[in-house]
């Protein structure tokens, strides 16, 4: 049975560490019971609805070491709790990685971007409305998917890579970080591990209850973007119902290197079509060494949607993916 409306949080212990060591210690000791809090835009809906809860919350936004954007020897590093507004306006990001600046600047609404963090945008949970409603679906530990059923209302769900769950990656910045070949800095009491962006996001076949590779006690503390794709030709577009608030129906992030009119290399990822940002490897391969042209755009678009398995209400995502690939290739 579905929970009734609450809109009142349970009592939760609040920890507000101001240094890394304390935060990591808390995350380690509290484990599953310690809810990591960034800007709160994913958190509070769950907690107020009481569809998920925790006994303690660890607020990460007071740790200066995990904030800000700095240049490194081979790129930039962005603290995980840096706000989306700051990223979208940062001169360094705009100069080198305008792809990310654009995506960060189009997340949700200005107010949400002012408090929402990069980490929050990346690790936010699935937005499938059945799951958020508190139903006992696969992702919630049950044994059914309400969206992937004959009568499921699945307009916003996956056309690729479903495995019991058909939720999609809702993040606007995630496809850009895949396209920019970013590395996630994952930290715990045990130390640090570096995870390529493409491997950071996991689909339901790997883990149906989590959308990232984060383990218990681990915190995403920074994102590193190498100079490899700095100042490439970028294309980002998010198609959503409204220009504010809404998650993407489909988004595309492309980094393309062009020399004398010929595409020498590219990395392209789509959002909101699969549970993870969908890397378009076949499209990238088809582009390599080809003159950038309208004909090429038309030619590769169809490759992007190969293998798509639409549900009742999301067939539109197939032409939309194809059209966005065309636009990205045209530039």
């Amino acid at each position: 049975m579905v929970a009734t409306s609450h809109d009142v949080m349970l009592d939760i212990e609040l920890y507000q560490p101001t240094d890394e060591a304390n935060a990591l210690a808390l995350a380690g000791s509290l484990g599953k019971d310690g809810w990591l809090l960034g800007g709160g835009q994913d958190t509070y809906g769950w907690l107020k609805d009481r569809n998920k809860t925790a006994s303690a919350m660890i607020e990460l936004t007071q740790i200066d070491a995990w904030k800000g954007i700095k240049e490194t020897s081979d790129g930039i590093e962005i603290g995980a709790v840096t706000t989306l507004t700051e990223i979208s306006k940062n001169p360094l990001v705009k100069e080198k990685f305008a792809l990310l600046a654009k995506a960060a600047g189009i997340v949700a609404s200005p107010q949400i971007r002012n408090v929402g963090t990069l980490a929050g945008n990346l690790v936010q949970d699935a937005r499938c409305w059945y799951y958020r409603r508190g139903l006992d679906c696969y992702r919630a530990g049950g044994n059914i998917c309400y969206a992937d059923s004959p009568e499921g209302l699945n307009r916003e769900h996956a056309i690729f890579g479903a495995s019991r769950c058909v939720a999609v990656s809702p993040s606007d910045t995630a496809p850009t970080l895949v396209a920019l070949d970013a590395t996630m800095v994952v930290t715990s009491e045990k130390g640090q591990r570096l995870v390529p962006a493409q491997d950071f996001f996991v689909g339901p076949a790997v883990n149906i209850t989590s959308m990232t590779a984060l383990e218990e006690g681990e915190i995403l503390t920074a994102v590193r973007i190498p100079n490899t794709w700095a100042n490439a030709e970028f294309y980002f577009e998010k198609v959503a119902d409204r220009n504010v608030w809404d998650f993407a129906l489909v988004s595309i992030a492309a980094a393309i290197k062009v020399s004398n009119g010929v595409i020498t290399d590219s990395r392209i990822a789509c959002g909101a079509v699969e549970c993870v940002p969908r890397r378009l490897d076949d499209v990238e391969n088809a582009l390599k060494g080809q003159p950038r042209s309208e004909a090429l755009a038309e030619q590769v678009a169809e490759i992007a949607s190969r293998g798509a398995q639409p549900l009742n209400y999301n067939h539109f995502k197939i032409p939309l993916v194809e059209n966005l690939v065309k636009r990205a290739v045209r530039g």
Binding site: R242, Y313, F316
Partner: protein
């Protein structure tokens, strides 16, 4: 010459709204106040078999529970404050728990165990009408009259819920855009000879259509707080109206209206969902009485979705015949309304829109409202009219195209004028100047010039649209009450609610105008019953400007009469020898001979009787009588019922022109230009008019392109309980620059010339937007409101997955 009407001013509550100082119902606290929370139904349909609240009641801080047994029974399809035996939608309140804190009350809710028996449910009216379809109520799915229908607008009397099913052939016909022959209806009317009208048509268009019922999502949820003192109930609520609530709310609380103090200084939106007292007010008031403590029942955003009402959706079919000269010769219209769990279908108003917008020579209408296990439905900004405008505009465009006529010219040929009619009874209107509005709008928008612009620009294609919105916009017979104090100030008592439109203040300007009072010497008394308010209309139906400029005008006229009579008594001659000006009443022949308003007020008190409210007209409402009695002896009282002669519906009509750019790659629509011209008589308050025009337009774009109401057919759960899921447009989704104008021809039946315009502002924009999308896509008809991004992409890709079968309450 006008001094107030037609000029901008700052309504007195604006500074408080800007600074945050103004209080809404939820802001009030009272010593000893306790908190109630609702337990709502998790099921779309079922029977409550048992409630076990024992564990909750044993919790520290829990004060008690309140159930349907504590309130008078409500027979289906009424909207009970608390469900008794049957629950009929997810989110329906079943009981309330009170505690010393919200947290304790909410935790207590979790301890209550309810045993349900599940029942079949349905979320699509056509599914319910289909053979074997489920019924929303155990008794059936349709309210059928058992007595003859009264006059238009009369409440339903003698009706019962029955199980109505259509033959499969009728269901299939409707879904495929054909007349559903054999289908049963509960409302039918016709005028003229429809068959003959089609016979003389040069072109006939025939289309199905579907519109979704949008939730209101008023920003201020309907939180209430009540307390009792000395036998009186002080009730803080959130309503569109003020004194129109008094009698109904008093009945809910089982008290004499004289013992009710209803307090509602400001309201954060209602849009039709808070016109009168709503059932849930009964919980706060009566639970507070039981506990003998001030009690607040806060309604959450999600609960506001559940109990805050929604527009009724439509599934329908229309056939329109057009003569070679453009005149609409015949219309045949069928509408199945989604009534949710309370009815509230507005199909007759939808049909009324057709009559006003196109003045058909012959017309037949058949309608039926079907209950579904979805939220209660009710009035929402132009209920019936606006959603009809949204789907009808492209269909009318198709008819115009079929006879080779420009779309604006087509509307001009069929435009209503002052001799025109509205509704199935072809009733008169007070005045109408739609041709003038179309001409003005066409010029301002540059309709002809824009037609000549290039249509395609890369993946983007330009579309131009035109639409008409209509709503009845005025009432008669309410009371006005003003008082001139011994300080010489004019106190205007208004029972009009402050729903955020500022019409409460604009209408008061009529009294200031009549009495020639500077605005800074006027004070509006409103917002709580003990401010001694007159009987006013409910703030629904765009009526306030027409209705209450008249009431304030007649009250001021009564005051003027009394001023002149007092002057004549004191200074000689008769009343006709005197006139007013500069806050004085003086002899026309010798302006130095006169009394100031302050002196006249002092004399009124000395004279007593009718002059200071000890006596009053027989025909004023008891609510006004009580207020006059309370004010008696405090100044010169002007009080009167609006008996201004006249007949007909004052129409609020709007024409909208929209220019869009549609991206064929993404399905996204950008609004480039929107121009609207209102036919609303004299514009009383230009700034307020402009705000209404813009706000309505934004919502209209939402209706036609974005907003939704989604129910899962598997489990009856709604998908859009929050605002972000319902997708109303934001300021970044609409064009900032709009051009808003008015014909500004006074209505002859209002001394100030004004008529209302609030509601049709939405319909005209929705219609113009839909018309523009169709134009951009070479006349393609989606026949849906909203027409969303995915539908456009599917159309362009040759898919039809999202738009088939007239499905409603889906994405």
């Amino acid at each position: 010459m006008s001094t107030h009407i037609g000029f901008d001013f700052t309504p007195p509550d604006v500074p408080g709204k800007v600074t945050g100082e103004i209080k809404y119902a939820e802001d009030y606290r009272r010593e000893g106040m306790v908190f109630a929370r609702l337990l709502t139904s998790p099921l779309p349909s079922g029977r409550v078999v048992g409630i076990d609240a024992s564990e909750a009641l044993r919790m520290d801080g829990v004060l008690g529970i309140f159930t349907a047994d504590d309130l008078p029974p409500v027979a289906p399809p009424g909207n009970p404050a608390l469900a008794s035996e049957y629950v009929t939608y997810v989110g329906q309140p079943i009981l309330a728990v009170a505690a010393i804190s919200e947290e304790i009350a909410e935790s207590a809710i979790e301890k209550i165990r309810i045993d349900f028996e599940r029942r079949p449910f349905v979320v699509d009216p056509i599914e319910s009408l289909s053979p074997g379809g489920a019924n929303a109520y155990p008794e059936g799915n349709v309210l059928v009259r058992t007595e003859e229908e009264g006059p238009e607008g009369a409440p339903i009397r003698g009706a019962e819920i029955r199980d109505v099913k259509w033959p499969r052939s009728a269901i299939d016909a409707l879904k495929s855009g054909k007349e559903p022959v054999g289908g049963e209806f509960t409302t039918e009317w016709a005028f003229g000879d429809v068959d003959a009208g089609f016979a003389e048509a040069a072109a006939i268009v025939e289309e199905p259509f579907v519109t979704i019922g949008y939730p209101h999502h008023s920003l201020e949820s309907r939180t209430c707080m009540a307390y009792w003192e000395n036998g009186k109930c002080f009730f803080h609520g959130s309503s569109q109206s003020q004194s129109a609530n008094d009698n109904g709310l008093a009945r809910m609380l089982n008290i004499d209206p004289a013992d009710l103090v209803f307090i509602n200084e400001a309201t954060g939106g209602g849009f039709g969902s808070k016109i009168g007292p709503y059932p849930f007010m009964a919980i706060s008031g009566n639970f507070a009485k039981v506990l003998n403590r001030p009690l607040q029942l806060r309604i959450t955003r999600e609960q506001e979705f559940y109990i805050g009402s929604a527009r009724s959706g439509m599934q329908g079919w229309i056939k329109m015949g057009v003569k070679a000269d453009g005149k609409v010769s015949a219309v045949d219209l069928v509408i199945v309304n989604d009534g949710g769990m309370t009815g509230g279908g507005s199909h007759n108003s939808s049909a009324q829109h057709v009559t006003v917008a196109y003045q058909p020579e012959n017309m037949r209408f058949r309608g039926i409202t079907v209950y579904t296990n979805t939220t209660p439905r009710g009035a929402q900004r132009g209920p019936g009219q606006n959603e009809m405008a949204a789907v009808l505009a492209p269909i009318a465009d198709k008819a115009a195209k079929a006879i080779g006529m420009d779309r604006v010219a087509f509307r001009r040929v069929n435009a209503i004028d002052s001799d025109g009619f509205q509704g199935g009874s072809q009733a008169p209107v007070t005045s109408a100047f739609v041709r003038e509005a179309l001409d003005q709008g066409m010029r301002t928008f540059g309709w002809n010039e824009k037609q000549a612009l290039a249509k395609q620009n890369g993946s983007k294609v330009r579309g131009l649209g035109v639409g008409i919105g209509f709503h009845g916009a005025g009432g008669r017979g309410y009371d006005g009450l003003v008082r001139i104090g011994t300080d010489g100030k004019l106190y205007i008592h208004s029972g009009v609610g402050n729903l955020g439109t500022y019409s409460y203040a604009g209408t008061c300007r009529a009294a200031a105008e009549a009495l020639q009072m500077p605005w800074d010497r006027c004070e509006i008394l409103r917002g709580r019953t003990d401010n001694n308010l007159p009987h006013s209309s409910g703030q629904g139906g765009s009526n306030t400007i027409f209705t209450h400029t008249r009431t304030n005008w007649v009250a001021a006229q009564d005051a003027i009469t009394k001023l002149k009579e007092i002057a004549a008594q004191d200074l000689g001659g008769n009343a006709n020898d005197y006139e007013i000006g500069d806050e004085r009443v003086f002899a026309s022949a010798d302006p130095s001979k006169g009394l100031s308003y302050a002196q006249a007020a002092a004399r009124a008190i000395e004279l007593g009787g009718k002059y200071s409210g000890q006596e009053y007209p027989d025909d004023i409402n008891p609510i006004t009588q009580r207020s006059v009695q309370a004010l008696a002896g405090s100044g010169l009282i002007g009080v009167a019922k609006d008996n201004i002669p006249g007949q007909g519906t004052p129409p609020g009509i709007l024409v909208g022109f929209c220019e869009i750019e549609l991206d064929k790659d993404t399905g996204k629509v950008e609004i480039l230009d929107y121009t609207a011209v209102a036919d609303c008589g004299t514009v009383v308050h230009p700034k307020n008019f402009d705000n209404a025009m813009r706000g309505g337009a934004v919502w209209g774009f939402g209706m036609a392109g974005l907003e939704r109401h989604v129910y899962d057919p598997q489990n009856g759960l709604p998908a859009n309980t929050g605002i972000y899921q319902s997708k109303p447009p934001t300021y970044l989704d609409v064009n900032v620059n709009t051009k808003m104008g008015a014909v500004n021809i006074p209505d002859p039946q209002n001394p100030t010339g004004g008529r209302g315009i609030g509601e049709p502002t939405q319909g005209a924009a929705a219609a113009a937007y839909a018309s523009a999308i169709s134009d951009a896509l070479d006349g393609h008809l989606f026949n849906t409101a909203p027409t969303t991004t995915d539908m456009i992409i599917n159309h362009l890709a040759g898919n039809d997955y999202s738009t088939k079968s007239l499905k409603t309450n889906t994405f």
